[in-house]
């Protein structure tokens, strides 16, 4: 009896090992055999730029309502940020990444990463100098002079570009290192903080403070953000996958920006489903406010009303390149953007642009 039990276990161990080997083999062939199913485009991995909050309302809805599946994707995998999204995508750990024009352009110019932006969620970047009305009260770039501003190391060059774009000398502002924590601002240790108007600003306002925003986009530094970037190889070898992703994205974001019901749906998915493990927990009211604000000011503009979501106009591209130059990044439109697949998609399915 004992021996047969042992024998049984041996078989089971062997079975588990075999299964593991098969799984490994399956993982190994994952990237090369993306198109196993007949009309599918394989599994999907998306690298986010931030934690799984309402910033990705459109992605959550696209997954929840099955838009990715409709477009032909198998398993959908969202990776939370913040990380070096460009590196994750360029090294093949994710199919698509959401990042901003400055970060992606820096990766292309400084380390020859083979990446392109193929469309964008945010027409305007949400970077802002957040201050309290009764402390820093920074309403214009000139108000920055003599103030103590908390800047995260990754955003240091961006902040310096904002100063340069407004003709302010770096020595006229006191830069102090700060994380993404809003406590030093609320405790009035600093006058201003580099923040997202859709995130930290709403968070601080929600805590009962009277806040002031100085958006980078309206003060000499416009560029696109939450932009979809992918590798040159993906564009060349798998254009259908890129188009399928953009289609599902546009549908998801249309729903996410479809009035109060849409804002609430995206925020709830963030709080209850996709971001439920985040600590400290997401606050529903703030997430709804974020979903609303990003749709009204960043996702939907006069240009998207005319051309459709995710499009980037020629004028917008010019503005991006100018901002990048101010940040010390010299790049051409062709090196950074490839909007041909988005154009193709919108021609094939004009209803997406409505």
């Amino acid at each position: 009896m004992k021996t047969s039990f042992r024998h049984g276990r041996g078989v089971r161990v062997a079975a588990v090992l075999a299964a593991a080997a098969l799984t490994l083999a399956a993982c190994g062939s994952d990237s090369s055999d993306d198109t196993e199913s007949e009309d599918g485009v394989g599994d999907l991995t998306v690298q986010f730029s931030w934690i799984k909050n309402a910033e990705f309302a459109g992605e959550f809805i696209a997954d929840d309502k099955g838009y990715y599946a409709d477009a032909g994707f198998g398993k959908v995998n969202f990776l939370a940020g913040p990380v070096a999204q460009e590196e994750i995508v360029a090294t093949g750990k994710a199919d698509f990444g959401l990042s901003n024009a400055v970060s992606t352009a820096a990766a292309i110019v400084n380390s020859k990463f083979p990446l392109k932006i193929v469309g964008t969620t945010y027409q305007k970047n949400p970077f802002s100098i957040l201050s309290l009305a009764d402390k820093g009260n920074i309403k214009t770039p000139q108000d920055l002079i003599g103030k103590k501003i908390g800047v995260q190391d990754p955003n240091l060059s961006l902040f310096k570009a904002l100063l340069a774009a407004n003709g302010i000398d770096e020595d006229e502002v006191e830069i102090v290192p700060n994380g993404f924590d809003v406590a030093p601002l609320e405790d009035k240790q600093i006058d201003g903080l580099v923040a997202y108007i859709t995130n930290e600003s709403l968070l601080v306002k929600g805590h009962g403070f009277d806040t002031v925003d100085l958006p980078f986009a309206d003060n000499g530094l416009p560029f696109v953000a939450e932009s979809v970037m992918t590798t040159d190889d993906m564009i060349k070898d798998n254009p259908e996958k890129v188009k399928a992703f953009l289609e599902a994205e546009i549908k998801g974001w249309k729903d996410a920006c479809d009035g109060d019901a849409g804002y609430e749906e995206g925020a709830k998915l963030a709080v209850d489903t996709y971001g439920k493990d985040i600590d400290p927990p997401l606050e529903l009211d703030k997430e709804i406010a974020q979903a609303k604000q990003q749709c009204e000011t960043l996702v939907n503009t006069d240009e998207t009303a005319e051309n459709g979501l995710f499009t980037i106009s020629d004028q917008m591209i010019e503005d991006n390149l100018t901002s990048l130059k101010a940040a010390g990044i010299d790049i051409t439109a062709d090196q950074l953007f490839d909007l041909s697949l988005l154009d193709e998609l919108l021609k094939e399915k004009p209803e997406l642009a409505e």
Partner: protein
């Protein structure tokens, strides 16, 4: 008299550099990390010397390095001075040692990264923050090593000085410090990399252009050439500093006879 063995640090240095470069190639080729993010020795040489913007690159990297050397120098001097003074006081007054040594040993085990936010709160994020953080890294190991050296005076030596009418201070000056020289040099040697580590950590919390800061900002902008160059130059400085300390140790100890430092 200076003997050939005095120059062993130089041979050590050559060996260490060769081994480091070898390990660099091996790690990059065996770990299979994407070549988008890794750089090899020749890439760093190209970035610093042969590229079109080599001049600009050099000034960016060396400017940061100069600041880090200054920061590390401050911590090195502050930490070693404090360690020597504390160790001396401890030897002179046994009670102090019994009271402070356990605390020192415990403080030594607290990681600096964990202490850093407290230090920035207390000292702001300027000069004093760097001095204190880099000093702390140097202080504890140096204190333990130096006080061990000072205490290794034999009772017989102590008695000889006392018999000739010498005071405790004379024992310290004529016997304890010379006896402790090997320990003091050991403390100096381990303090070189310690001071640099402390400076790099402190620089994350301050605003000046330095290696600690530049590593972070170049990472954010995918400037991997600059990143690897920074790591290379700061490692070189650390190894060179260590070798210099070793060279100085050999030269000085040679004066105290061939067995000095080996007893």
């Amino acid at each position: 008299m200076i003997r050939l063995s005095t120059f062993r640090p130089l041979m050590n240095l050559v060996f260490v550099l060769a081994a480091t470069v070898g390990a660099w190639y091996a790690l990059v080729s065996w770990t299979g990390v994407s070549e988008l993010t890794t750089r090899l020795p020749q890439d760093v040489v190209a970035y610093l010397f042969t590229a079109d913007e080599a001049g600009e690159n050099r000034s960016a990297v060396l400017g940061a390095l100069a600041q880090t050397c200054l920061d590390a120098g401050i911590g090195f001097v502050a930490g070693l001075t404090a360690a020597t003074l504390l160790a001396t006081v401890m030897v002179l007054f046994g009670g102090i040692e019994a009271a402070t040594m356990p605390v020192v040993m415990i403080l030594r085990t607290v990681p600096l990264v964990a202490l850093a936010p407290v230090i920035t709160l207390l000292f702001g994020n300027g000069f004093w923050c760097v001095a204190v953080m880099s000093g702390i890294v140097v202080l504890f190991p140096a204190l333990v090593t130096i006080s061990f050296g000072l205490r290794s005076v034999t009772p017989q030596m102590h008695d000889v000085v006392s018999v000739y009418g010498g005071s405790t201070w004379d024992v310290l000056r004529r016997v304890a410090f010379p006896t402790a020289l090997p320990s003091i040099f050991a403390a100096i040697r381990i303090s070189v990399p310690g001071a640099i580590t402390g400076a790099l950590i402190a620089e994350y919390f301050t605003t000046t252009d330095s290696v600690g800061k530049a590593v972070n900002t170049s990472l954010a902008l995918y400037q991997y050439d600059q990143l690897w160059s920074l790591i290379v130059v700061v490692t070189l400085v650390s190894v060179l500093g260590y070798s210099l300390a070793q060279l100085a140790e050999n030269v000085v100890l040679a004066r105290y006879g061939k067995d000095a430092g080996r007893a």
